[in-house]
Symmetry: C2
Subunit: 273 residues, 2 copies
């Protein structure tokens, strides 16, 4: 267990005016950072997590300069590449900004999390809206041309089809239709109604890697309006998504319809330099 004390370093005892650390934004972090070398968790990851929580908790305030990398490495007993790797991971997340000749700075608020492959179930649960699900149908059928193209399978091959209504606070929010390659996931109605599809897939060892999405809008059909308790012809948000695993095989094709009056897609995104 390597630890490090707060306050500044040892170059503050000589000069009367000890040469402020340059930038107007105060530096000299008074945080306690430490790494545990006996832990199997990588050192750079330990450091990154501690910095991230410090930012989240407001201990590292926006605009604040981190100490320079060399000094930080020395304080923690790490090498500079390790510290750089930790910082880089937070830069990739958009929490820090580096400027050569200046230092590394905490980004000025606002930025929270970049866009992730979100699941409606988790989003609702995180927002405290008690999600609930009713399975409308759960069948296997021959892949239509559109489904076959999305999943990258031959037309007419057997695929699993899941139809659900998702509720929040007892109100219908969305109509979810999903197609999965046959045999990929052992779906049962009880499970589908208790949790989200992505959770089930992850639990089954399917690693979600990337997805292709299209978001649009159109008037609701009569059947959709009925199921969503919406006026006929009212606008609905549509989202089509094909999800791929790490090897690039499509593992899911979803075609979802949301009540426009109750739902919007919100996300954050970063510009890569």
């Amino acid at each position: 267990m390597t630890s490090c004390l707060p306050v500044t370093r040892g170059d503050d005892y000589a000069l009367p005016v000890p040469k402020q650390p340059r930038s107007g934004t105060d530096a000299a972090p008074s945080l306690q950072l430490s790494v545990d070398r006996t832990s199997p968790v990588p050192l750079y990851f330990q450091l990154a997590q501690q910095l991230e929580t410090a930012i989240e908790q407001g201990i590292l305030t926006p605009g604040r300069l981190l100490g320079n990398e060399i000094e930080l490495a020395g304080r923690l007993g790490l090498s500079r590449p390790t510290v750089r790797q930790a910082i880089q991971s937070l830069v990739d997340k958009g929490l820090l900004v580096r400027r050569r000749g200046v230092g590394t700075q905490v980004v000025h608020s606002h930025v929270r999390r970049p866009l992730e492959l979100s699941s409606l179930y988790d989003d609702l649960a995180a927002a405290g809206q008690r999600p609930a699900t009713v399975v409308l149908h759960l069948t296997t059928e021959a892949a239509s041309p559109a489904v076959a193209a999305a999943l990258g399978v031959v037309e007419g091959v057997e695929v699993q089809r899941i139809g659900r209504v998702r509720y929040a606070h007892g109100e219908p929010m969305a109509l979810l239709t999903n197609h999965l390659p046959a045999g990929l996931l052992d779906c049962r109605t009880a499970e589908l109604e208790a949790t989200g599809l992505y959770r089930m897939m992850r639990a089954a060892g399917i690693s979600l890697h990337s997805a292709r999405q299209a978001i649009g809008a159109r008037p609701a059909t009569a059947a959709e309006a009925e199921l969503l308790s919406e006026g006929p012809g009212g606008p609905v948000l549509t989202m089509e998504r094909t999800t791929f695993d790490a090897t690039g095989r499509a593992v899911e094709f979803g075609s979802h319809v949301y009540r426009a009056s109750r739902y919007t897609f919100e996300f954050q995104l970063l510009v890569r330099p």
Copy 2:
């Protein structure tokens, strides 16, 4: 200029069956990679670009294994960290997948580009749809509560307001309303009608860093329907976006309305592990 020849390495002259490189997916890349040490372009970046174009052009086919990092470094006269940095940048883009003990593999098709901070103008131009713009108004006004909150300024402060109609192939596509902090950008109608707002901002040295977006839908108002040549009450897609620069200051707040019958948001996204 360090260069490297195609074909395999020198361990193929002894054994009758030269011990295939393990995996079923063929390895032994026959690509020509080279780095120019006199160039100011970083070595890792040169390598990353060459690998990326090789993947885009299909020279590196999906599922194919890259040679291992040590050998690749040796062939190019680079060190392993440099090669790793190049590979890592492509992993971050979703083009490659690493698996410990196995190797680095080209991702299996589909994946193209992750979501970027896209500009409608550039998107249309890239799709070959000749975008055109008409400026409706270009004024400065006192910030409304909503605008002030989005831009992080005090209510009532002067802000610039831009209203535009964006056309594609002569058809109206979207109504764009943007608010900018006063004095940030010298906007002129001629420029606004010739290019996109983001291009102007980048050209003015404003670095776009991150953005917060919300996408929804609603019925069009009478005025919107008129401007968009859409039936009254027809569904429109709405997008609100606040863009931040590297220091976290809001540089733009946009409130856009798209014809749902003509436009959908399409994007790719990655899951970070």
